[in-house]
């Protein structure tokens, strides 16, 4: 994919992946983010994904669509996704421009997001390795 430093990080915490976007991503970086994250879900056998976008002061339609795609792809690979940290102005712009957030699950911040996943975690026998 595109060279250059990665502008996002993906950390594993138990069965949950925490993906933080550090700065505004352009379209190709956004795609790279999607590939990496969906790839990690399989490798780490994650059951939940928290995507933290608190650092973004703009979320455009491409980013919205990508987030929606990640949610769908993660679901197909067995993980729930929650997007956290959308700023007030960003939230209103997303709605104002009529971007379809569809199946996107959102929460206030990382803590809330983790709580959301914990409340819905299915205690699975295969989780212990």
């Amino acid at each position: 994919m595109s060279p250059g430093p990665r502008l996002f990080s993906i950390l594993r915490q138990g069965a949950t992946l925490i993906a933080s976007v550090h700065t505004a991503l352009d379209d190709s970086q956004m795609e790279r983010f999607r590939e990496d994250l969906v790839d990690r879900i399989g490798r780490d056998r994650a059951r939940g994904v928290v995507i933290d976008v608190a650092a973004l002061d703009v979320i455009d339609s491409f980013a919205t669509r990508t987030l929606r795609q990640i949610t769908e792809m993660a679901r197909l690979r067995g993980a729930r996704t929650v997007v956290v940290g959308i700023q007030p102005d960003v939230a209103f712009v997303i709605v104002r421009l009529g971007m379809d957030t569809g199946s996107l699950v959102t929460a206030l911040d990382l803590e809330e997001g983790l709580e959301y996943l914990a409340a819905r975690a299915v205690p699975s026998a295969g989780a212990a390795r």
Binding site: V84, I86, Q87, P88, D89, A91, F92, I94, V95, R96, T101, L104, T106, A107, L108, D109, E112
Partner: protein, 304 residues
């Protein structure tokens, strides 16, 4: 050629008149001022009577009218004498500040100044009626000054009024969209009065920032006190609800009046995603249920 000469001749004579008036002003205005000073008590009394007859300033007592008319009269004469309107401007602003809260209207203020102008003009007529030429020159000197005074007072009054209105608008705007935390993670927004698009915008900003500040998970917007809503505001409300959801908070709207419900259905705003409960009490119960509080029956099996 002839017409040209005629024109220049007329122009010359006009300039002459202007000069004469300028000269007159220097001589006549002091004379005028002296006259007005001399008959101060009588003219002021006349003026006050005229004000009473015209039913102006009825919000004020007769003593107050007397005191104010005296000040206005003295200021008036002073402006005629010095030609400087600044003191009058200050005084008019001051006066406006005092009388606006008591419900004195613009037409009253303009009315009393015009009455004074009339009273003084009449006294000039009386004094100079034997010499029409002199009377004309006196009036030439008097009119512009009097007009400037009337203008100054009226403008000061209106300015002051507008300032008060702006101040009140700001205060109302600040008060209009309170965001109140009732329980942990639960906010209520009681909205009272007409919701126009500016207020709706303010509401959105306050709400979204309130959600982040209080880490709210449920918000109850109570619109019992809102008489009507138009399409723009309704759509704005829907967008606000969606934006709140993106920030992880659910919104419950309570107190939709029959009128508003009818409007919303008629204009076809998509409210399928909106959570609505009949009244504020029901909304709070629903919110507490969503937050996992046992909803409040004291003798029930509610946990701590």
């Amino acid at each position: 050629m002839t017409s040209d000469q005629q024109g220049s001749a007329t122009g010359g004579s006009r300039a002459g008149t202007a000069e004469q008036v300028l000269g007159d002003e220097d001589v006549l205005l002091p004379e005028l001022v002296a006259h007005l000073r001399e008959h101060r008590t009588r003219l002021r009394q006349q003026w006050a009577t005229r004000i009473g007859e015209a039913h102006l300033l009825q919000a004020m007592t007769s003593q107050e009218v007397m005191a104010e008319t005296t000040s206005v009269y003295d200021n008036y004469v002073e402006v005629l004498e010095t030609g400087s309107v600044e003191a009058l401007q200050r005084y008019a602003r001051d006066l406006s500040e005092r009388i606006i809260p008591r419900g004195v209207e613009t037409h009253e203020v303009v009315g009393i100044v015009l009455l004074l102008r009339d009273v003084l003009a009449r006294s000039l007529f009386e004094k100079y009626q034997r010499d029409v030429d002199l009377l004309n020159r006196v009036l030439d000197a008097y009119e512009p000054a009097a007009n400037r005074i009337a203008n100054t007072v009226a403008v000061s009054f209106v300015d002051e009024r507008e300032r008060v209105i702006r101040q009140q608008q700001d205060a109302i705007l600040e008060l209009s969209t309170p965001v109140l935390p009732v329980r942990e993670r639960l906010l209520i927004l009681p909205i009272i009065g007409v919701l126009d698009s500016e207020r709706a915008r303010q509401l959105t900003v306050q709400l979204l920032n309130g959600i982040r500040r209080h880490r709210a998970r449920v918000v109850v917007i109570d619109i019992t006190g809102v008489p009507t809503i138009d399409e723009t505001v309704a759509n704005h409300l829907v967008q606000t609800v969606d934006a709140s959801r993106l920030m992880g908070a659910d919104v419950i709207i309570t107190g939709l009046s029959p009128d508003i419900a009818q409007t919303l259905v008629t204009i076809g705003v998509d409210l399928s995603k909106m959570d609505t409960v009949g009244d504020l009490q029901g909304g709070l119960e629903e919110a507490e249920r969503m937050l996992g509080y046992a909803s409040g029956r004291p003798d029930g099996a509610a946990g701590p």
